[in-house]
């Protein structure tokens, strides 16, 4: 997964929506534990800025 930092507003919408508890917002950095990601796509769709992408998301 990739967070485009030119778009990210560090609001935490993705972190709060993640059902797999695999995201963390560290002030101005989104940390994603890819091993626990269940590829649900919530974070990608909820991001108001469209800052998150993944190869598996279509």
């Amino acid at each position: 997964m990739n967070v485009d930092t030119s778009k990210c507003n560090y609001c935490g919408a993705c972190v709060g929506s993640c059902p797999a508890n695999c995201m963390y917002l560290d002030e101005t950095r989104i940390i994603i534990d890819e091993n626990r990601c269940i590829k649900c796509g919530f974070c990608i769709r909820v991001c108001p800025m469209g800052a998150i992408s993944a190869e598996w998301f279509k």
Partner: protein, 397 residues
């Protein structure tokens, strides 16, 4: 370094600051930590609050955090031909002030500080400390290095992100129909009615609404929330807002001086919001009103209850899950459970209605003089004008 407190409050928003204030007032040694260097900033809020609850949590309105006072709210139909006008009194004081959230949050933190609470800014919690299966503190990153903070009671006030709840294994996971993605522009140089907060329903914002909250004569927060189950593509919510502004020349001519994003929960109350040594408050406890998306009032009220419960727990030496269920969670349920459940049903219903149905509904309701806003008075108005429409709402009664 190790530190020891009676209460550790994680997050310095309205819920955290209110919890810290009431815990400190009761003589407890309280530390409130905030990961950001600047409490209240960046703002993540539409900034519209009602007035009715402020005395309950002893907040005296201050000029410096009020940017505008409104008379009421207008709810527009999708075709925008009609609107339902709610005066503050009729709306149960659901409308009132448009505030400066950054200043408001700092004010609440200052009240906590004056009651004796310690505050650390730029100090994120990294994880919880467990001893014998119970949470006894948190690892906190300070500018000078990571420290351990031990406390008898930990209050999770870390907002929608709610890491504390996850770490403490309190299940506050959300269904995607109960997550609303939000984006807002603070715009200047626009046309508006300064005396009303405006809401726009329908396909302009599926599962949510567009809001225009006036901050001054030509300045407003123009925002949108769309339910996650209605969003397919990345960045779609921004497109909905940009499209709405594009269709409204009075907004289009304005300029954006602030971009705010975030998400809110629109669920009914979770099964539990406590565990041994831990209580959640506000957005972290998913206490946001499912129909308005407003969270500030519920955060402050739950914060007060948590601060008082912490004091009682430490006085009696009982910080167990059972104690917090009886002395905190039950009181929160009495306050919010019924209302949030009813509003959740109403939200679910509203999000299913077509623009055509919403147009009729707003037309029917706006054409009568409502003495009070109740489900029955609304249904009576609809029954009069569109008898067939009432069938759609029978299950709401």
């Amino acid at each position: 370094m190790k530190y020891d407190y009676d209460v550790l409050v994680i997050g310095a928003g309205p819920g955290g600051s209110t919890a810290a204030r009431y815990a400190a007032r009761n003589g407890l040694r309280v530390l409130m930590i905030e990961k950001r260097p600047d409490i209240g900033s960046p703002v993540r809020c539409g900034e519209g609050i009602s007035k009715s609850w402020l005395p309950e949590v002893e907040i005296e309105p201050q000029k410096f955090w009020i940017s505008n006072e409104v008379e009421g709210a207008r709810i527009f139909s999708p075709d925008e031909k009609n609107n339902i006008k709610l005066s503050a009194a009729k709306a149960g004081n659901e409308v009132g002030y448009i505030i400066e959230r950054d200043k408001f949050d700092k004010y609440l933190a200052s009240l906590a500080a004056r009651e004796g609470a310690e505050i650390w800014v730029k100090s994120p919690a990294l994880s919880l400390i467990y001893e014998n299966g119970r949470v006894t503190g948190a690892k906190v990153r300070r500018p000078e290095g990571t420290v351990e903070v031990y406390a008898k009671v930990i209050i999770g006030a870390d907002g929608f992100e709610s890491q504390v709840g996850r770490w403490a294994k309190i299940n506050t996971l959300l269904n995607q129909r109960d997550i609303v993605s939000c984006i807002e522009y603070r715009m200047v140089g626009i046309d508006l009615n300064k005396d009303y907060t405006d809401f726009y329903l329908g396909s302009c914002a599926p599962g949510g609404y567009v809001w225009v909250f006036p901050k001054g004569a030509d300045e407003a927060n123009v925002g949108i929330g769309v339910a996650l189950n209605k969003l397919k593509n990345p960045g779609e919510v921004k497109k909905y807002l940009d499209d709405f502004i594009e269709r409204h020349p009075g907004l289009k001519k304005g300029k954006t001086i602030q971009l705010i994003t975030g998400a809110v929960s629109t669920c009914s109350m979770p099964k539990t919001i406590v565990t041994d040594n831990v209580m959640l408050v506000g957005d972290a406890a998913r206490l946001i009103d499912p129909i308005t998306g407003g969270g500030v009032a519920n955060a402050c009220i739950s914060g007060k209850l948590a601060g008082e419960a912490a004091a009682e727990a430490i006085r009696t030496g009982n910080t167990s899950r059972e104690f917090f269920v009886d002395n905190y969670e039950k009181k929160v349920r009495e306050k919010f459970e019924r209302k949030n459940l009813r509003n959740w049903f109403a939200k679910e219903k509203l999000s299913e209605l077509s623009d055509e149905t919403l147009n009729k509904l707003v037309d029917a309701v706006s054409s009568v003089e409502l003495s009070s806003i109740s489900v029955k008075s609304l249904l009576d108005a609809v029954q009069k004008k569109y008898p067939d429409l009432v069938k759609e709402f029978e299950d709401l009664i």
